[in-house]
Amino acid sequence: MPGDPSDITVPQNHSGNDTAKAPEVSFTNRALGFVAGILTALLEAGYFVVVGAVLGPAMLWPRTRAAAIRRFLVGVRWLTELELRRRSRFFDDLFPVERDDQKALPYLTSHLAAGLLSAIVVGLLGFGLVLVVLVTRGMIRGSLGIWDLLAQVLLGGVLLFLDIQGIITLAGLDGRLARRYFGPSEREMLKRRIAELSASRAGIVRAVDSERQRIERDLHDGVQQRLVALAMLLGRARRHRDPVEAGRLMEQAHRESEEVLVELREVAWRAYPSALDNLGLPEALAGVAERSSIPVRVRIDLDTPLPRPVETATYFVVSEAVTNAVKHSGAAAIGVAIERRSGCVHVRITDDGAGGADPAGSGLSGLGLRVAALDGRMSVGSPPGGPTEITVEIPCE
C-alpha cells in the first residue's frame, strides 16, 4: 500500500531507513555511492536523449505509440533497477521485493534532475580546486597582494561551504527520492517496528513461561523427589524392630537431608543468582565459571556497571551458553568476553567443542527472545565439528 507520510507524526530522529538497529554506512561508501549516482544520471540523460530521438516520432503516431512507449519503458525499468541496486550496494538501503512499475518513470526523471544538479555541484568543487591552485601560484610568484589573498580566501571559503552544503543536501535527496518512490514509507517503518515489538513482547512471555516450567521441573525432579525419598527412609527407620538397622537408615536419612539442602541451593541459584544483586556481574559470572566442569575463562571489560535489565540478560546468556556447552559440546575450554563498545554491550561465548548447537533449541531460543526484548541481537555460529560461537549485542545507553 502507498504510504502517505503527511498524516502521521513520526519522531524527528526517525527518518527513512534508519531503525534502532541500522548499522552506520562508512563515509567512503557514501561518497562512492554519490559519485555512482552522478554517473547513472548521466547514463539516464544519454538514454532519454538517444532513445527519445529514435522512438520520439513513433510515439507521436497513434498506431505505433503504445509499442514505442512499451519499448521505452523497458529501458526505464532496467535503469530504475540499476539505481535501486546502487542504493542497496552503497547505502545498505532495503527495498520491498514488490515494485510498482508505474513509479519507475517519475522516479527516474526526478533522479535524473537531482543527479545532473549533483554533477554541477561536484563540477563546481573541481572548479574551486583549480582556483585554489591559481591563487597559490599567484602567492608564490608574488603577483598577489595580502589583501587580495584574504579576499580570495574569504570568498573561496564561503563558496566552498555553500558547495558542500549543496552536496550534502543532494546526497540526502538521492536517498529520499529512492525511498519516497520504492522504499518503505514512514508508516510502513512504524508498522514494521510495531510488528517487531509485538513479536518480541509475545516472545518474552513465552520465555518467562518456559523459565517457570524449568524451575518447576527443577523442583519436581530434584528437590521433591529427594524429599520423598528422605521421608521414605525415615518411615522405614521407624518401622524397623532392629535398632542397628534403624540407626543405619537414620544415618542415611541424615545424609539425604544434606543432599536436599545442596539441591535446593542449586535450584534457587539457577532460578536467580542473588550474587547478581549483591556483588554484581563479575562475581555472579565467577560463580558460573566455578560451577562448570569445563574450564571457563571470563574477560570483562566494562568501565561502568551495566543497567540492571541488560546485566541480568547478560548473566543468563552466559550462564545458559556455558550450561549448554558443558552438556553437549565436549569442549576442553570455554571463553567468555564481555565489553562495551559504541553504546552496546557485546558478549561473546566460544567453545572448542563439536559444534552443531541448535539456535532453535529451547535454551538458546529463550535467550534470543530475552535479548530481542531489549532490542538486542543474538547470533549463533556452530558448524558441525565446531567451534561454537554465540555473540550477543544489547544496546545500553
Partner: protein
Amino acid sequence: MRIILAEDSILLREGLIRLLTEEGHEVLAAVGDGDELIREVEARQPDLIVVDIRMPPTHTDEGLKAALEIRRRWPALGVLVLSQHVEKNYATQLLASDTAGVGYLLKDRVSRVEEFLDSLDRVHNGGAAIDPEVVRQLLARTTHVDPLSKLTNREREVLDQMAQGHTNAAIALKLHISQSAVEKNVNMIFEKLDLTRTTGYSRRVLAVLQYLGS
C-alpha cells in the same frame, strides 16, 4: 505380592524397591517409562503395578496412559497410580469405569509408609485406594452443598473414609466406633444423598466419587 514399578526418578525407584522388599514383596522389574512398563507387564504378569504419572519423554501423563491401557488389557491386575498433584481429570479417567483394584495416590503419600502399604494391599485385594486429598478436594468442590449439609459430622467423617476406599471394618478401627455404627452411618449417608445402594466396596466408592465429582 509380585510388583512392577514405573518411576523415572532413580532415587525414588531405589527407595521403593528397598521398602517393598523389606515388606516381603517381590519387585519383578523397575522401569522408567510407559512403553517399557507395558512390555514388562506383558512379559512377567505381575499382581500389581505402581506407576508414576509423570514420566519421560514429555513429563505430562505418560504413566496414566500406560496405566489405562494396562487396565484395558489386563483388568484383573491391580494398578496404583502416583500423581504429582491432585489432578481431578486424571483421577476421573482412571476411576471412570470401575474402582476394583485401582489406586490414585499423591506421590508424597509414599513417605507415610504404613498408609502406602495399606493402599497396596487394598488395591491388590480388588478394593480401591483414593488419596484423602483427592476426596477432600472433591468434598470441598462438590456442587451438592445442600444434601451434604444434611449430614452429621460423624456421617461426613464416614463419607470421607468411604470415598477413600476403606472397608467398614477399617473405618470402624480408624474412627474408634463399632462396625455396626459405621454400617448405620453408611446407610444414612446413602439415604440422605439419594445414592443407589450398590453392593461391593469398589462400586460403593465409585458411587460416592461420582456423586461428589458430578
